[in-house]
Protein backbone atom coordinates (compact mmCIF):
# COMPACT_ATOMS: atom_id res chain seq x y z
CA UNK A 1 0.00 0.00 0.00
CA UNK A 2 2.82 2.43 0.84
CA UNK A 3 4.52 1.69 -2.50
CA UNK A 4 1.27 2.38 -4.38
CA UNK A 5 0.73 5.61 -2.40
CA UNK A 6 4.28 6.68 -3.26
CA UNK A 7 3.63 5.98 -6.96
CA UNK A 8 0.41 8.05 -6.95
CA UNK A 9 2.07 10.88 -4.99
CA UNK A 10 5.02 10.99 -7.39
CA UNK A 11 2.57 11.25 -10.29
CA UNK A 12 0.61 14.06 -8.59
CA UNK A 13 3.76 16.06 -7.82
CA UNK A 14 5.01 15.63 -11.39
CA UNK A 15 1.67 16.88 -12.78
CA UNK A 16 1.73 19.87 -10.40
CA UNK A 17 5.31 20.69 -11.41
CA UNK A 18 4.28 20.64 -15.08
CA UNK A 19 0.90 22.39 -14.84
CA UNK A 20 1.59 24.72 -11.86
CA UNK A 21 -2.16 24.87 -11.31
CA UNK A 22 -2.49 24.56 -7.53
CA UNK A 23 0.45 25.90 -5.52
CA UNK A 24 1.03 29.16 -7.47
CA UNK A 25 -2.71 29.93 -7.32
CA UNK A 26 -2.78 29.29 -3.56
CA UNK A 27 0.31 31.45 -3.01
CA UNK A 28 -1.05 34.29 -5.12
CA UNK A 29 -4.39 34.11 -3.35
CA UNK A 30 -2.77 34.24 0.12
CA UNK A 31 -0.56 37.21 -0.71
CA UNK A 32 -3.49 39.05 -2.33
CA UNK A 33 -5.60 38.55 0.80
CA UNK A 34 -2.79 39.82 3.05
CA UNK A 35 -2.45 42.90 0.86
CA UNK A 36 -6.24 43.39 1.04
CA UNK A 37 -6.14 43.13 4.85
CA UNK A 38 -3.21 45.54 4.92
CA UNK A 39 -5.25 48.20 3.14
CA UNK A 40 -8.70 47.13 4.37
CA UNK A 41 -7.77 47.38 8.05
CA UNK A 42 -5.69 50.46 7.34
CA UNK A 43 -3.00 49.22 9.72
CA UNK A 44 0.67 48.59 9.13
CA UNK A 45 0.94 45.95 11.79
CA UNK A 46 -1.24 43.46 13.61
CA UNK A 47 -0.58 41.40 16.69
CA UNK A 48 -2.28 38.94 19.03
CA UNK A 49 -5.60 37.41 18.10
CA UNK A 50 -6.25 39.64 15.07
CA UNK A 51 -2.92 38.65 13.48
CA UNK A 52 -3.53 35.01 14.29
CA UNK A 53 -7.06 35.07 12.84
CA UNK A 54 -5.97 36.78 9.61
CA UNK A 55 -3.12 34.28 9.11
CA UNK A 56 -5.26 31.18 9.61
CA UNK A 57 -8.45 32.25 7.83
CA UNK A 58 -6.34 33.12 4.78
CA UNK A 59 -4.49 29.78 4.86
CA UNK A 60 -7.78 27.92 5.24
CA UNK A 61 -9.30 29.70 2.24
CA UNK A 62 -6.15 29.03 0.22
CA UNK A 63 -6.53 25.35 1.15
CA UNK A 64 -9.99 25.38 -0.48
CA UNK A 65 -8.31 26.16 -3.82
CA UNK A 66 -5.89 23.25 -3.40
CA UNK A 67 -8.61 20.81 -2.34
CA UNK A 68 -10.77 21.81 -5.33
CA UNK A 69 -7.88 20.90 -7.66
CA UNK A 70 -6.75 17.77 -5.78
CA UNK A 71 -8.74 15.31 -7.90
CA UNK A 72 -8.82 17.46 -11.08
CA UNK A 73 -6.62 15.15 -13.15
CA UNK A 74 -8.51 12.10 -11.88
CA UNK A 75 -11.92 13.58 -12.71
CA UNK A 76 -11.12 14.95 -16.16
CA UNK A 77 -8.71 12.29 -17.43
CA UNK A 78 -10.26 9.13 -16.07
CA UNK A 79 -7.61 8.62 -13.42
CA UNK A 80 -10.05 7.23 -10.87
CA UNK A 81 -11.00 4.42 -13.29
CA UNK A 82 -7.30 3.81 -13.85
CA UNK A 83 -6.78 3.43 -10.11
CA UNK A 84 -9.86 1.24 -9.59
CA UNK A 85 -8.60 -1.00 -12.40
CA UNK A 86 -5.27 -1.49 -10.63
CA UNK A 87 -4.73 -4.00 -7.82
CA UNK A 88 -4.13 -1.35 -5.17
CA UNK A 89 -5.85 -0.65 -1.87
CA UNK A 90 -7.95 2.51 -2.14
CA UNK A 91 -6.42 3.72 1.10
CA UNK A 92 -3.24 4.25 -0.95
CA UNK A 93 -5.12 6.90 -2.93
CA UNK A 94 -6.17 8.68 0.27
CA UNK A 95 -2.64 8.60 1.65
CA UNK A 96 -1.19 9.93 -1.61
CA UNK A 97 -3.74 12.74 -1.94
CA UNK A 98 -3.37 13.76 1.70
CA UNK A 99 0.43 13.75 1.35
CA UNK A 100 0.21 15.84 -1.82
CA UNK A 101 -2.08 18.34 -0.07
CA UNK A 102 0.28 18.49 2.92
CA UNK A 103 3.22 19.27 0.64
CA UNK A 104 1.21 21.86 -1.32
CA UNK A 105 0.23 23.65 1.92
CA UNK A 106 3.80 23.56 3.21
CA UNK A 107 5.07 25.02 -0.08
CA UNK A 108 2.43 27.77 0.09
CA UNK A 109 3.37 28.65 3.67
CA UNK A 110 7.06 28.92 2.77
CA UNK A 111 6.06 32.05 0.81
CA UNK A 112 2.79 33.13 2.44
CA UNK A 113 3.95 33.22 6.08
CA UNK A 114 7.01 35.44 5.42
CA UNK A 115 4.76 37.63 3.23
CA UNK A 116 2.28 37.86 6.12
CA UNK A 117 5.08 38.80 8.51
CA UNK A 118 6.33 41.44 6.10
CA UNK A 119 2.96 42.98 5.27
CA UNK A 120 1.03 42.70 8.51
CA UNK A 121 2.77 41.19 11.50
CA UNK A 122 3.94 43.66 14.14
CA UNK A 123 6.06 41.56 16.53
CA UNK A 124 7.95 39.58 13.85
CA UNK A 125 8.42 35.81 13.74
CA UNK A 126 11.89 35.45 15.19
CA UNK A 127 11.43 34.35 18.81
CA UNK A 128 8.45 32.04 18.43
CA UNK A 129 9.41 30.42 15.15
CA UNK A 130 9.80 26.78 16.35
CA UNK A 131 6.40 26.91 18.10
CA UNK A 132 4.76 28.46 15.01
CA UNK A 133 6.34 25.75 12.85
CA UNK A 134 4.78 23.04 15.06
CA UNK A 135 1.33 24.68 14.79
CA UNK A 136 1.68 25.05 11.00
CA UNK A 137 2.70 21.40 10.53
CA UNK A 138 -0.13 20.04 12.68
CA UNK A 139 -2.61 22.41 11.02
CA UNK A 140 -1.43 21.27 7.58
CA UNK A 141 -1.82 17.65 8.62
CA UNK A 142 -5.45 18.21 9.61
CA UNK A 143 -6.26 20.27 6.51
CA UNK A 144 -4.62 17.64 4.28
CA UNK A 145 -6.52 14.70 5.82
CA UNK A 146 -9.91 16.41 5.71
CA UNK A 147 -9.10 17.94 2.32
CA UNK A 148 -8.34 14.56 0.72
CA UNK A 149 -11.58 13.15 2.11
CA UNK A 150 -13.71 16.07 0.89
CA UNK A 151 -11.96 16.15 -2.50
CA UNK A 152 -12.77 12.48 -3.06
CA UNK A 153 -16.37 13.04 -2.02
CA UNK A 154 -16.76 15.95 -4.42
CA UNK A 155 -14.71 14.51 -7.28
CA UNK A 156 -17.54 12.74 -9.06
CA UNK A 157 -20.13 15.46 -8.54
CA UNK A 158 -20.96 18.08 -11.14
CA UNK A 159 -20.80 21.02 -8.74
CA UNK A 160 -17.57 20.10 -6.97
CA UNK A 161 -16.34 23.75 -6.81
CA UNK A 162 -19.45 24.46 -4.74
CA UNK A 163 -19.39 21.30 -2.64
CA UNK A 164 -15.73 21.56 -1.60
CA UNK A 165 -16.00 24.84 0.37
CA UNK A 166 -19.44 23.94 1.74
CA UNK A 167 -18.12 20.68 3.21
CA UNK A 168 -14.53 21.59 3.90
CA UNK A 169 -14.85 24.83 5.84
CA UNK A 170 -17.26 23.58 8.54
CA UNK A 171 -15.15 20.45 9.01
CA UNK A 172 -12.06 22.62 9.45
CA UNK A 173 -13.56 24.87 12.14
CA UNK A 174 -11.84 22.87 14.94
CA UNK A 175 -8.50 23.23 13.09
CA UNK A 176 -9.06 26.97 12.73
CA UNK A 177 -9.90 27.39 16.42
CA UNK A 178 -6.95 25.29 17.61
CA UNK A 179 -4.43 26.87 15.25
CA UNK A 180 -5.61 30.43 15.91
CA UNK A 181 -5.66 29.92 19.68
CA UNK A 182 -2.23 28.28 19.66
CA UNK A 183 -0.77 31.04 17.48
CA UNK A 184 -2.31 34.03 19.26
CA UNK A 185 0.18 34.17 22.21
CA UNK A 186 3.06 33.71 19.76
CA UNK A 187 2.04 36.91 18.00
CA UNK A 188 1.90 38.99 21.18
CA UNK A 189 4.57 41.45 22.18
CA UNK A 190 6.45 39.82 23.87
CA UNK A 191 5.64 36.34 22.56
CA UNK A 192 4.29 33.79 25.03
CA UNK A 193 3.57 30.07 24.87
CA UNK A 194 0.68 29.78 27.32
CA UNK A 195 -1.74 26.92 26.61
CA UNK A 196 0.31 25.97 23.54
CA UNK A 197 0.60 22.34 24.65
CA UNK A 198 -3.17 22.06 25.17
CA UNK A 199 -3.98 23.35 21.66
CA UNK A 200 -1.29 21.23 20.02
CA UNK A 201 -2.72 18.19 21.79
CA UNK A 202 -6.20 19.05 20.53
CA UNK A 203 -4.85 19.47 16.98
CA UNK A 204 -3.06 16.13 17.22
CA UNK A 205 -6.26 14.43 18.40
CA UNK A 206 -8.25 16.01 15.57
CA UNK A 207 -5.64 14.90 13.03
CA UNK A 208 -5.59 11.31 14.34
CA UNK A 209 -9.41 11.08 14.41
CA UNK A 210 -9.78 12.40 10.86
CA UNK A 211 -7.04 10.20 9.43
CA UNK A 212 -8.67 7.12 10.99
CA UNK A 213 -12.15 8.22 9.88
CA UNK A 214 -10.94 8.93 6.34
CA UNK A 215 -9.21 5.56 6.04
CA UNK A 216 -12.41 3.88 7.26
CA UNK A 217 -14.79 5.58 4.82
CA UNK A 218 -12.58 6.26 1.80
CA UNK A 219 -13.38 2.90 0.15
CA UNK A 220 -17.10 3.72 0.15
CA UNK A 221 -16.60 7.17 -1.37
CA UNK A 222 -15.22 5.67 -4.55
CA UNK A 223 -18.03 3.13 -5.00
CA UNK A 224 -20.41 3.95 -7.87
Amino acid sequence: MIAAARTILRKDLLIELRTKESVPAMVLFSITVYVLFHFGLDRDSLDGELASGVLWVTLLLAAVIGVSRLFAAESTQGGIDGLLLAPVDRTALFLAKAAAMFLFLTAVELVAVPAFALLLLGPGLGGAFPELLAVLLLGNFGMAAVGALVAALAAETRAHELIVPLLLLPLLVPVLISCAQATEPLFRQPAATEDLGRWLLLLTLYDVVFVLLSVAVFDFLLED
Partner: protein
Protein backbone atom coordinates in the same frame (compact mmCIF):
# COMPACT_ATOMS: atom_id res chain seq x y z
CA UNK B 1 -14.91 -22.90 -15.81
CA UNK B 2 -16.48 -20.18 -17.97
CA UNK B 3 -14.57 -16.89 -18.20
CA UNK B 4 -17.80 -14.88 -18.02
CA UNK B 5 -21.20 -16.00 -16.77
CA UNK B 6 -24.03 -13.47 -16.69
CA UNK B 7 -27.52 -14.42 -15.59
CA UNK B 8 -30.33 -11.87 -16.02
CA UNK B 9 -27.88 -9.07 -15.28
CA UNK B 10 -29.42 -5.68 -14.55
CA UNK B 11 -27.92 -2.24 -14.04
CA UNK B 12 -29.86 0.99 -13.56
CA UNK B 13 -28.99 4.69 -13.50
CA UNK B 14 -31.60 6.05 -11.13
CA UNK B 15 -34.93 4.85 -12.54
CA UNK B 16 -33.57 4.20 -16.01
CA UNK B 17 -32.65 0.59 -16.79
CA UNK B 18 -29.34 0.75 -18.68
CA UNK B 19 -29.00 -3.04 -18.85
CA UNK B 20 -31.64 -5.64 -18.16
CA UNK B 21 -32.07 -9.38 -18.63
CA UNK B 22 -28.59 -9.93 -20.05
CA UNK B 23 -27.48 -13.57 -19.90
CA UNK B 24 -24.24 -14.72 -21.50
CA UNK B 25 -21.73 -17.52 -21.05
CA UNK B 26 -18.27 -17.08 -22.53
CA UNK B 27 -15.57 -19.74 -22.32
CA UNK B 28 -11.88 -18.99 -21.81
CA UNK B 29 -10.14 -17.87 -25.01
CA UNK B 30 -13.40 -16.98 -26.74
CA UNK B 31 -14.50 -13.59 -28.01
CA UNK B 32 -17.86 -11.99 -27.29
CA UNK B 33 -18.93 -9.21 -29.66
CA UNK B 34 -21.35 -6.69 -28.21
CA UNK B 35 -23.30 -4.78 -30.82
CA UNK B 36 -25.90 -2.08 -30.70
CA UNK B 37 -26.59 1.55 -31.45
CA UNK B 38 -25.49 4.49 -29.30
CA UNK B 39 -26.92 4.31 -25.78
CA UNK B 40 -27.78 0.62 -26.08
CA UNK B 41 -25.84 -0.27 -22.90
CA UNK B 42 -22.62 -1.61 -24.42
CA UNK B 43 -20.25 0.56 -22.39
CA UNK B 44 -22.28 -0.05 -19.23
CA UNK B 45 -21.86 -3.79 -19.78
CA UNK B 46 -18.09 -3.41 -20.17
CA UNK B 47 -17.88 -1.28 -17.01
CA UNK B 48 -19.88 -3.85 -15.03
CA UNK B 49 -17.57 -6.62 -16.27
CA UNK B 50 -14.53 -4.54 -15.30
CA UNK B 51 -15.91 -4.11 -11.78
CA UNK B 52 -16.27 -0.35 -12.22
CA UNK B 53 -20.07 -0.47 -11.86
CA UNK B 54 -22.07 -2.65 -9.51
CA UNK B 55 -24.77 -4.86 -10.99
CA UNK B 56 -28.16 -4.12 -9.40
CA UNK B 57 -29.83 -7.47 -10.06
CA UNK B 58 -29.05 -10.87 -11.53
CA UNK B 59 -25.66 -12.49 -11.19
CA UNK B 60 -22.30 -11.81 -12.79
CA UNK B 61 -19.23 -13.99 -12.49
CA UNK B 62 -16.04 -12.89 -14.24
CA UNK B 63 -12.94 -15.13 -14.20
CA UNK B 64 -14.45 -16.92 -11.22
CA UNK B 65 -15.05 -13.70 -9.25
CA UNK B 66 -18.66 -13.06 -8.23
CA UNK B 67 -19.51 -9.38 -8.73
CA UNK B 68 -19.63 -7.07 -6.91
CA UNK B 69 -18.43 -8.86 -3.75
CA UNK B 70 -15.24 -10.30 -5.24
CA UNK B 71 -14.43 -7.31 -7.42
CA UNK B 72 -11.01 -7.06 -5.76
CA UNK B 73 -9.95 -10.24 -7.58
CA UNK B 74 -10.34 -8.68 -11.03
CA UNK B 75 -7.82 -5.83 -11.54
CA UNK B 76 -4.76 -8.00 -12.05
CA UNK B 77 -6.60 -10.18 -14.58
CA UNK B 78 -8.58 -7.65 -16.62
CA UNK B 79 -7.34 -5.23 -19.27
CA UNK B 80 -9.82 -2.43 -19.91
CA UNK B 81 -9.76 -0.19 -22.96
CA UNK B 82 -12.66 2.24 -22.85
CA UNK B 83 -13.56 5.54 -24.50
CA UNK B 84 -11.07 7.40 -22.33
CA UNK B 85 -7.41 6.38 -22.74
CA UNK B 86 -6.87 6.71 -18.94
CA UNK B 87 -3.61 8.53 -19.58
CA UNK B 88 -2.58 11.82 -17.96
CA UNK B 89 -2.15 14.49 -20.62
CA UNK B 90 0.68 16.30 -18.84
CA UNK B 91 2.79 13.16 -18.45
CA UNK B 92 4.70 11.51 -21.28
CA UNK B 93 3.55 8.19 -22.68
CA UNK B 94 6.43 6.43 -20.94
CA UNK B 95 5.70 8.13 -17.60
CA UNK B 96 2.05 7.07 -17.88
CA UNK B 97 3.00 3.47 -18.64
CA UNK B 98 5.59 3.43 -15.86
CA UNK B 99 2.91 4.71 -13.46
CA UNK B 100 0.51 1.92 -14.43
CA UNK B 101 3.32 -0.67 -14.40
CA UNK B 102 4.20 0.37 -10.83
CA UNK B 103 0.55 0.19 -9.72
CA UNK B 104 0.28 -3.31 -11.20
CA UNK B 105 3.69 -4.42 -9.94
CA UNK B 106 4.87 -5.08 -13.49
CA UNK B 107 8.64 -4.95 -14.19
CA UNK B 108 9.74 -2.07 -16.43
CA UNK B 109 11.26 -4.57 -18.89
CA UNK B 110 7.70 -5.62 -19.78
CA UNK B 111 6.88 -1.96 -20.46
CA UNK B 112 9.71 -1.78 -22.99
CA UNK B 113 8.52 -4.98 -24.68
CA UNK B 114 5.01 -3.57 -25.17
CA UNK B 115 6.27 -0.15 -26.30
CA UNK B 116 8.52 -1.81 -28.85
CA UNK B 117 5.75 -4.12 -30.09
CA UNK B 118 3.44 -1.16 -30.68
CA UNK B 119 6.23 0.91 -32.30
CA UNK B 120 5.68 3.90 -30.03
CA UNK B 121 9.16 4.04 -28.54
CA UNK B 122 10.16 7.10 -30.59
CA UNK B 123 7.21 9.16 -29.23
CA UNK B 124 7.19 7.74 -25.71
CA UNK B 125 8.96 10.73 -24.16
CA UNK B 126 6.52 13.35 -25.42
CA UNK B 127 3.59 14.58 -23.32
CA UNK B 128 0.38 12.76 -24.18
CA UNK B 129 -1.35 16.10 -24.92
CA UNK B 130 1.00 16.54 -27.91
CA UNK B 131 0.20 13.14 -29.47
CA UNK B 132 -2.30 12.35 -32.22
CA UNK B 133 -5.45 10.38 -31.39
CA UNK B 134 -4.02 7.32 -33.12
CA UNK B 135 -0.85 7.40 -31.04
CA UNK B 136 -2.82 8.00 -27.85
CA UNK B 137 -4.90 4.92 -28.72
CA UNK B 138 -1.72 2.87 -29.10
CA UNK B 139 -0.48 4.06 -25.69
CA UNK B 140 -3.91 3.24 -24.24
CA UNK B 141 -3.64 -0.27 -25.68
CA UNK B 142 -0.15 -0.57 -24.18
CA UNK B 143 -1.63 0.41 -20.80
CA UNK B 144 -4.43 -2.13 -21.10
CA UNK B 145 -2.13 -5.09 -21.88
CA UNK B 146 0.85 -4.05 -19.73
CA UNK B 147 0.02 -6.53 -16.96
CA UNK B 148 -0.69 -9.35 -19.43
CA UNK B 149 -4.39 -9.75 -18.50
CA UNK B 150 -6.35 -12.93 -19.14
CA UNK B 151 -9.49 -10.98 -20.11
CA UNK B 152 -9.64 -7.96 -22.39
CA UNK B 153 -12.61 -5.59 -22.32
CA UNK B 154 -12.35 -3.53 -25.48
CA UNK B 155 -14.52 -0.61 -26.50
CA UNK B 156 -13.88 0.30 -30.15
CA UNK B 157 -10.21 -0.75 -29.83
CA UNK B 158 -9.29 0.17 -33.40
CA UNK B 159 -10.77 3.67 -33.22
CA UNK B 160 -8.37 6.25 -34.72
CA UNK B 161 -5.91 3.57 -35.86
CA UNK B 162 -4.71 3.47 -39.46
CA UNK B 163 -4.55 0.04 -41.18
CA UNK B 164 -0.86 -0.50 -40.37
CA UNK B 165 -1.40 0.40 -36.71
CA UNK B 166 -4.43 -1.90 -36.60
CA UNK B 167 -2.14 -4.71 -37.77
CA UNK B 168 0.42 -3.83 -35.10
CA UNK B 169 -2.08 -4.12 -32.25
CA UNK B 170 -3.50 -7.42 -33.50
CA UNK B 171 -1.04 -9.74 -31.63
CA UNK B 172 -1.76 -7.89 -28.39
CA UNK B 173 -5.52 -7.41 -28.47
CA UNK B 174 -6.69 -9.35 -31.52
CA UNK B 175 -7.91 -12.90 -31.75
CA UNK B 176 -4.35 -14.15 -32.14
CA UNK B 177 -3.55 -12.87 -28.62
CA UNK B 178 -5.34 -15.96 -27.29
CA UNK B 179 -6.99 -13.92 -24.56
CA UNK B 180 -10.67 -14.01 -23.66
CA UNK B 181 -12.16 -10.85 -25.12
CA UNK B 182 -15.31 -8.78 -24.95
CA UNK B 183 -15.38 -6.52 -27.97
CA UNK B 184 -17.69 -3.53 -28.33
CA UNK B 185 -17.79 -2.14 -31.84
CA UNK B 186 -20.01 -0.67 -34.54
CA UNK B 187 -18.24 -2.70 -37.23
CA UNK B 188 -20.84 -5.49 -37.38
CA UNK B 189 -19.22 -7.60 -40.09
CA UNK B 190 -15.74 -7.32 -38.58
CA UNK B 191 -17.08 -8.18 -35.12
CA UNK B 192 -19.01 -11.21 -36.33
CA UNK B 193 -15.93 -12.44 -38.18
CA UNK B 194 -13.66 -12.34 -35.14
CA UNK B 195 -16.11 -13.41 -32.45
CA UNK B 196 -17.48 -16.71 -31.16
CA UNK B 197 -20.64 -15.24 -29.67
CA UNK B 198 -22.48 -12.04 -30.54
CA UNK B 199 -24.76 -10.16 -28.19
CA UNK B 200 -27.08 -7.52 -29.60
CA UNK B 201 -28.32 -4.79 -27.26
CA UNK B 202 -31.17 -2.36 -27.76
CA UNK B 203 -32.16 0.03 -24.95
CA UNK B 204 -30.24 -2.21 -22.57
CA UNK B 205 -32.12 -5.40 -23.54
CA UNK B 206 -30.67 -8.35 -25.46
CA UNK B 207 -31.96 -8.61 -29.03
CA UNK B 208 -31.01 -10.75 -32.04
CA UNK B 209 -28.13 -9.48 -34.16
CA UNK B 210 -29.92 -8.73 -37.40
CA UNK B 211 -30.85 -5.83 -39.67
CA UNK B 212 -33.25 -4.47 -37.02
CA UNK B 213 -30.47 -3.93 -34.47
CA UNK B 214 -29.54 -0.42 -35.62
CA UNK B 215 -33.07 0.74 -36.50
Amino acid sequence: MAAIELERLERRYGERVALGGVSVRLEEGQTLAVLGSNGAGKTTLLRVLAGLLRPHAGSARVLGAALPDERWRLPSQVGYLGHEPLLYRELTGRENLRYHADLHGVPHSRLQTVVTALEIDHRADEPVRDLSKGLIQRFAIARAVLHDPALLLLDEPRANLDPSAAELVEPLIGRSSGRTRVLVTHDVNGALEESDIALGLKAGRPVPVDAELYR
